[in-house]
Amino acid sequence: MSNLLDLLVAGLATGAIYALVAVGFTLLWQTSQTINFAQGEFVMLPAFLMLAVMHAGAPFWLAIILGILLSLLLLGLGFKLLLVDPMLRHGVLPLAIATMALAIGMKEAVKQFFSAEASPFPSIVPAGDVSILGRVVSLQSLGVLALAIAVVVGLTALLNRTSIGHQMQATAQNPTVARIIGVPVERMILLTFLINAFLVALASLLITPIYLAKFSSGEVLGQAAFIAAIVGGFNQVRGAIAGGLLIGVVDNLSAAYVSTQYRAAVPLILLIVIILFRPQGLLGRPEERTV
């Protein structure tokens, strides 16, 4: 029983990070039909940007700020202007393939310009344990969970409570009508790309201390976030959050109770079952058929 609590807390912490990545993923899909196969690499890169700044002699806090700014520039603005904008009008598939190529390119670039080895990364949450209700829980898990929840709550508030959030939702639901009623659709789409870049930079900051900075670490993360987004509901931000937390917990529990060999299989089977019986995802709304 005590073991279960530890697993739940650790699962929720990784799940919260998956949720951040999955939310960015669904935002891009909603506003611009971009299926970003490089999303995992988007999480991998900011940690290396921050490491590069630190190698240049800057303190950790400055590295974080510069790292986030650089990812806004590269993964937000650059990604949209250089890859998505020229390809969007040609449909979903060529763009998805181009993001696969981008993933290869990013991995290779990091391998070539930084290192092929895993590098340690400082944690923004101090190491150590706290005791809650007589149980010892790792401070890092709690800190990650708290930060991720704060960001998710903030993002949900932005989307649901502010005028900009409403304009973004209108853009996602029906760009034509949104344009007619005076929403600056282009600016809103750019904003979702910037939000995605911010979310992946934050996820990078939170997860890299746990799994180390490695050029290939995006593969597992990207797939987890991808599954989280589908399980929760591809077209709903809150679905992606629920999916992320669920996948994190399921992943951790199945490692302990099913088998370490097949732990990766459990979320996938969950994915197949969900698609067969509830294709819109747990919290998603059905998509209307295009034909």
Binding site: L93, A98, Q223, I230, A265, P279
Partner: protein, 332 residues
């Protein structure tokens, strides 16, 4: 098409085939290995082109089917059974699994099929890795024998390359026939407008599953060639990235074009080799090249050719019209 165009095409075809037979004769071992790999990957990509390019179903599991075929070949031939038996098993197995996997495609919209096949791809990889009793797990299966074809041993690289090339030729002929048969036309109808296809009396359920299953079976065929080519297999080459690579080959070559997979596999298998002189940068350059190509022409390499030919045809047609018009004016 004009008669000269037709002869030109036949001439180009003959030259390419002759080059594929003659030029590699003095290649070294590695060059022949890469070319054989190109032939094998082309077969797998052709299967995916049928599923994606002709029937319009996105599959991210083609690499898993190559894996199933490769393991069938490796397990059976190391037990002393002939490769042709393994080929039969691989085709039946991949066809059946593809058929079952296609069912979600009937229920949900196209990108969900991509997700189901993505999950299947990773599940297959886990089975390859974990079921030691069958696949020898991470240690892999070594000493996979190469077959005797019509009495010729293919142990040496050159005969085996001809064996791969011959298989590719057979598969190409079968595919050429298939896409010109009523089935092929039904597949295209399915891609272009499923509702209209249904109203014309095409059993869309059966043809969707069929396109998926045949495409998957070709993945299995490629796999049965892959195992004797490398003579050693382990789970790593059959992970999700092979499926993604194959999808990239089809799109980059030009999906829905007969020769698309040939070119796409050439880019994916040969371009990184040609870029090897740049050392650590070659995969990076390859990724950038693919992105630039897709930005320039989202329909792939053959899309560029297609656009160019269409332009020339319109120009020729308008020139003819101008001539005809001036003649009419002169006559009146």
């Amino acid at each position: 098409m004009t008669a000269t165009g037709k002869y030109l095409r036949i001439a180009v075809g003959v030259v390419v085939i002759a080059a594929l037979i003659i030029v590699p004769m003095n290649f070294n071992r590695y060059g022949l290995f890469i070319l054989s790999q190109w032939a094998v990957m082309t077969i797998a990509a052709m299967g995916l082109n049928l599923t994606l390019g002709y029937a319009g179903q996105v599959s991210l599991a083609q690499g898993a089917f190559v894996g199933i075929g490769a393991y069938a070949a490796a397990i059976m031939t190391t037990q002393g059974m002939p490769l042709i038996a393994a080929l039969g098993v691989a085709i039946i197995l991949c066809f059946a699994i593809g058929w079952i996997l296609g069912y979600p495609a009937l229920r949900v919209q196209h990108h969900y099929l991509a997700f189901v096949t993505l999950a299947f791809s990773t599940l297959a990889f886990l089975v390859f890795r974990n079921e030691d009793w069958l696949t020898k797990g991470i240690y892999g299966i070594s000493n996979i024998p190469r077959p005797n074809v019509l009495g010729f041993a293919t142990n040496r690289p050159l005969p085996f390359y001809y064996f791969c090339l011959g298989s590719l030729a057979l598969v190409s002929l079968a595919m050429w026939w298939l896409i010109r048969s009523p089935w092929g036309r039904a597949f295209v109808a399915l891609r272009e407008n499923p509702v209209r296809a249904l109203s014309l009396g095409i059993d869309t359920r059966r043809y969707t599953l069929m396109a998926f299953a045949i495409g998957s079976a070709l993945g299995g065929v490629a796999g049965t060639l892959y195992a004797p080519l490398t003579q050693y297999i382990d789970p790593v080459p059959f992970n999700l990235s092979l499926s993604l690579d194959l999808l990239m080959m089809v799109i980059v070559g030009g999906s829905g074009f007969f020769f698309g997979p040939f070119l796409g596999a050439m880019i994916a298998v040969l371009l990184p080799e040609w870029l090897r002189f740049t050392q650590g940068y070659y995969l990076m350059l390859y990724a950038v090249a693919v992105m630039l190509l897709l930005i320039y022409s989202p329909t792939g390499i053959l899309g560029i050719l297609d656009r160019y030919l269409a332009e020339r045809r319109t120009k020729a047609a308008s020139a003819l019209r101008a001539v005809a018009k001036s003649k009419l004016e002169a006559a009146s």
